[in-house]
């Protein structure tokens, strides 16, 4: 059986897949992110590269993915959001990504423009994530662009989407995941998870779907961070016990990482395909988290 990428292969054949996340630099030089890539390279199958995350301008994902792959050999997942490009530019980027050898695409709607550093800019959202998945599906399976025009060479990519198991109401999110899977999403990375019960319930609700779930893992670095996330991040549910432990301990980062290892050990038996480790802007902490998981032997 042939696989488009190492990520696809790992998800199909191995018991547990780990992915990481890197933020492109706010810089014209790729050097500023390569160290991070090297740090996590050996502990992940592939890494996400975010797309103007939280609507802040950084180097484009396309270039970042390509240069990381070329200069470090680390496989990337091209995160593509609908916020900054219309359907023409999005399709161009998929074709370009393929041409540059990038194989994994993660399709997202994107944070709204006012969250970032250019709040007065025009938000595009010409397509939403489901429509973009549909466009990619058409390109791959029918060899046509959205206008129905034939592509000389269709792309061949491994496509995924995002999901948030902690949302309330959860039903629309499940319906949306169904639509995404319908439109060709093969894997889904989740919002960061802290309460295994939430995941268990969710896995139950999506048992009818043929999609690989990678659970988002973000270590809490302080009680303050936990409280901030509960207030500002939809779907993030953090047990009080965790916040208490963070308050009581001296080395919070260590405790945060330790707690996530415990969470990972609990979710392994839940038929998840793996985990996705992310800490915005902190490739060093991603590396530490990965090392801790490896050392613990839970996977």
């Amino acid at each position: 059986m042939s696989f488009v990428s190492s990520l696809e292969k790992s998800l199909a054949t191995s018991k547990f897949t780990i992915t990481g996340e890197l933020t492109p630099p706010k810089s014209a030089s790729i050097e500023d992110v390569l160290d991070g890539a090297r740090l996590i390279k050996n502990d992940v199958v592939a890494t996400n590269v975010t797309d103007n995350p939280t609507s802040r301008v950084v180097m484009s994902t396309l270039a970042t993915c390509h240069l990381i792959e070329k200069q470090t050999g680390l496989e990337t997942i091209f995160q593509i959001t609908c916020r900054d490009r219309n359907r023409l530019a999005l399709q161009s980027d998929i074709l370009a990504a393929n041409a540059l050898g990038i194989k994994n695409i993660l399709v997202l709607t994107g944070d709204y423009i006012t969250m970032g550093d250019h709040p007065e800019a025009k938000p595009v959202f010409d397509l939403d994530s489901v429509q973009l998945l549909w466009a990619i599906k058409r390109m791959q399976e029918e060899g046509l662009d959205l206008a129905g025009k034939k592509l000389k060479t269709p792309p061949k990519v491994f496509v995924g989407a995002a999901v948030n198991p902690g949302l309330d109401p959860i039903e629309p999110e499940i319906i949306r995941l169904e639509k995404k899977v319908d439109m060709g999403a093969k894997f889904a990375q989740s919002q960061c998870l802290y309460d295994p019960d939430v995941l268990e319930k969710f896995m139950d609700q999506i048992s009818h779907l043929d999609v690989k779930i990678l659970v988002g893992i973000t270590p809490l670095l302080s009680a303050g961070m936990a409280k901030w996330m509960i207030k500002n991040c939809p779907g993030v549910i953090i047990p009080d016990e965790m916040i208490k432990r963070l308050k009581q301990t001296e080395d919070k980062v260590k405790e945060g990482i330790k707690m996530m290892v415990e969470v990972v050990s609990k979710i392994v038996p839940m038929k998840v395909a793996g985990i996705h480790v992310m800490v915005p802007e902190r490739a060093d902490l991603v590396a530490e988290m990965l090392k801790a998981i490896k050392a613990s032997g839970v996977v």
């Binding site: 944070d111 010409d126 397509l127 939403d128 489901v130 109401p169 949306r176």
Partner: protein, 216 residues
């Protein structure tokens, strides 16, 4: 209703400075709140007083038109009043201002309002809510009568995104997530299958500006 917001007096004075005799024209038409004779008199007085603060002697007069977007109405009502007028301050929406420009091309016309949206009025809460973006392709039948193009800042058609919290939108936590509202409504009315349906991307071509239709 077309909802408008008053421009700051400072800005208005900025463009009226070169003139002396100003006709302040209100509109009794569809703006909310109405910008009729009362508003015209208010601004007429304020501009004069503001002028004095800046050593300018404006001579303002207030009047009104039934509908400033109706060029016939404008011509018949205002022609007797524009002799010796140096400039007009219009309190209508952007449509009214531009209609006046067409009817009286020789007189400088200035906007006293910013036109902000098409909306409904909730008197009890003294609020105006944007409800329609005049996309030209109404899908209210598919979304339980709640417009996602207008009420979802991202204009999603296969929403909600994962940013809603307690049913509120990630962009403005004071506002409801339109798609959660749609979901609830479709569920309550047994139309969840419509909610599940995949909606194709919006056709922007039909609303290319400036639009025009034939009206008899």
């Amino acid at each position: 209703m077309i909802v408008t917001k008053e421009k700051p007096l400072e800005e208005i004075l900025g463009f009226l400075t070169p003139y002396k005799k100003i006709l302040v024209v209100g509109c009794d038409g569809c703006t909310t709140p109405p910008r009729g004779l009362r508003e015209a008199k208010t601004y007429s007085t304020l501009v004069e007083m503001s002028g004095k603060l800046n050593n300018k002697n404006f001579e303002c007069k207030a009047t009104t038109v039934a509908k400033q977007c109706d060029n016939h109405d404008c011509a018949t009502t205002l022609t007797p009043q524009i002799e010796n007028v140096d400039a007009i301050l219009s309190l209508a929406c952007g449509v009214g201002v531009q209609t006046l420009v067409e009817v009286f091309p020789e007189i400088p016309i200035y906007p006293g309002q910013d036109t902000i949206f098409l909306g409904s009025q909730d008197r009890d809460n003294a609020n105006m809510y944007e409800k329609c973006i005049s996309c030209g392709d109404c899908i209210l039948d598919e979304t339980g009568g709640i417009c996602p193009r207008t009420r979802c800042p991202k204009g999603l058609l296969n929403g909600p995104c994962a940013g809603h919290m307690d049913g509120k939108c990630e962009v403005d936590r004071e506002k409801d997530c339109a798609w959660v509202l749609i979901y609830r409504r479709m569920k309550d009315t047994g139309q969840l299958d419509k909610f599940r349906a995949f909606r194709k991307p919006r056709n922007y071509q039909i609303s290319t500006s400036p639009q025009q239709i034939v009206w008899k």
